[in-house]
Symmetry: C2
Subunit: 235 residues, 2 copies
């Protein structure tokens, strides 16, 4: 399968993460500004070379720790491999891209060359990193519908209207608070904490606080159609 004695095409494997967070009402991505050529001053995704003793997920978590406190990263998942031979100038570099999420209440300290940018208004990006960000956003949007991945975007406790803002920012359209609560409750994803928030100066009923019942990603709406036949009543 592989011939280790000769290496006709030296190859570097890098890992990259599109770190997404809802901030200031919009879905944003963490980028750093390249100081050096190639593509100096363009914005690129955090990441780096895959180490000898780590798999790609371990590697991206390690490399993210240089930009963001890892404990603030609530979810990491593989997106895809980007491997066009000319995707970066110079020697061949194949990248494994990740989708990574940070809850909206976090505000990590960032290195000076690093900043958040709205996904809907990206600055000039390096290499194929812009395409990776869009793939990440699409994946997130899809998963908001059929998994519990909202837990990774929301703070540990939240009101329904706060959660509505998070979902609306990520999806790019207004979500109804009523229906959001219904859907997530029906699926058993939401739990009351028992706490309520005080209304603002304008008054209004105090809002109940919720949390997500589970904080590991799970598919909650497995396949909508072509389900297996129902078990006979005797079962």
């Amino acid at each position: 399968m592989t011939d280790a004695t000769t290496d006709p095409s030296p190859l570097v494997h890098e890992v990259l993460a599109a770190v997404l967070q809802v901030r200031q009402g919009s879905l944003q991505v963490l980028l750093w500004e390249r100081a050096l050529e190639p593509h100096a001053h363009r914005w690129s995704l955090p990441g780096g070379r895959l180490g000898a003793d780590e798999d790609v997920e371990t590697s991206i978590r390690r490399q993210l720790a240089e930009k963001v406190d890892v404990r603030q990263v609530s979810h990491v998942e593989q997106l895809a491999v980007f491997s066009a031979p000319d995707r970066v100038p110079g020697p061949r570099v194949v990248a494994t891209a990740f989708l990574s999420l940070v809850p909206s209440h976090m505000d990590p300290e960032l290195p000076g060359d690093t900043a958040w940018h709205p996904v809907s208004a990206l600055p000039e990006t390096a290499f194929d990193h812009g395409a990776i960000v869009l793939r990440a956003r699409n994946r997130l949007r899809a998963k908001l519908s059929y998994t519990n991945i909202g837990f990774a975007l929301a703070p540990p406790e939240f009101t329904v209207s706060a959660l509505r803002s998070v979902y609306s920012a990520a999806l790019g359209y207004k979500v109804s608070a009523t229906n959001l609560q219904r859907v997530l409750s029906r699926r058993g994803l939401l739990e009351h904490t028992g706490e309520t928030t005080k209304p603002g100066r304008a008054g209004g009923r105090p809002a109940a606080q919720f949390r997500f019942a589970d904080s590991t990603m799970a598919v909650t709406d497995p396949f909508a159609v072509l389900k297996p036949p129902a078990a006979p009543k005797g079962q």
Copy 2:
């Protein structure tokens, strides 16, 4: 991002494909039997080393051509990267795994060391290839529900009951022909060809022939819930 002048950890990138086909009423995968150590006589996925001038998809298509006529491959998509440092003995090998499909009416000529095996009864597999096959099956099963990927498993023209067999084999449970036709028709995926088949000796009504309206993968049931608000009536 990468330092090309030194290469502390030589790394090989391979591409692997789980080629799935419905044959003899079950979902099967194409495997070849390794002649040499390591893992001699175990069964492994077709694939090989990524070439210098190709991306991973081009590479897997090229390598599959050595086992199966490429024109018979109806669908190829990335599955995931497998990168555990010890996933194969010896020098580091990172793999990009693919899901690949062959329509059920094809019966490609195979090399002598290659054979189809039911996914539900795999022989002893090499390395992590067994896990890759199961991931491929799970991906296929999920996509049968919310995309038109059936086109890649079915022959160009088929009766509803033939299509039912294909779906049943892939999903692992009996699918109702009635409901299958309803779901696919409602989504506009099926077209009448105008032809009908002759009944067998036992009689029965002649079956209408259908084809899939589209032969490129598309999501047909985008998100079941949290849809964007309906456009106002005036639109």
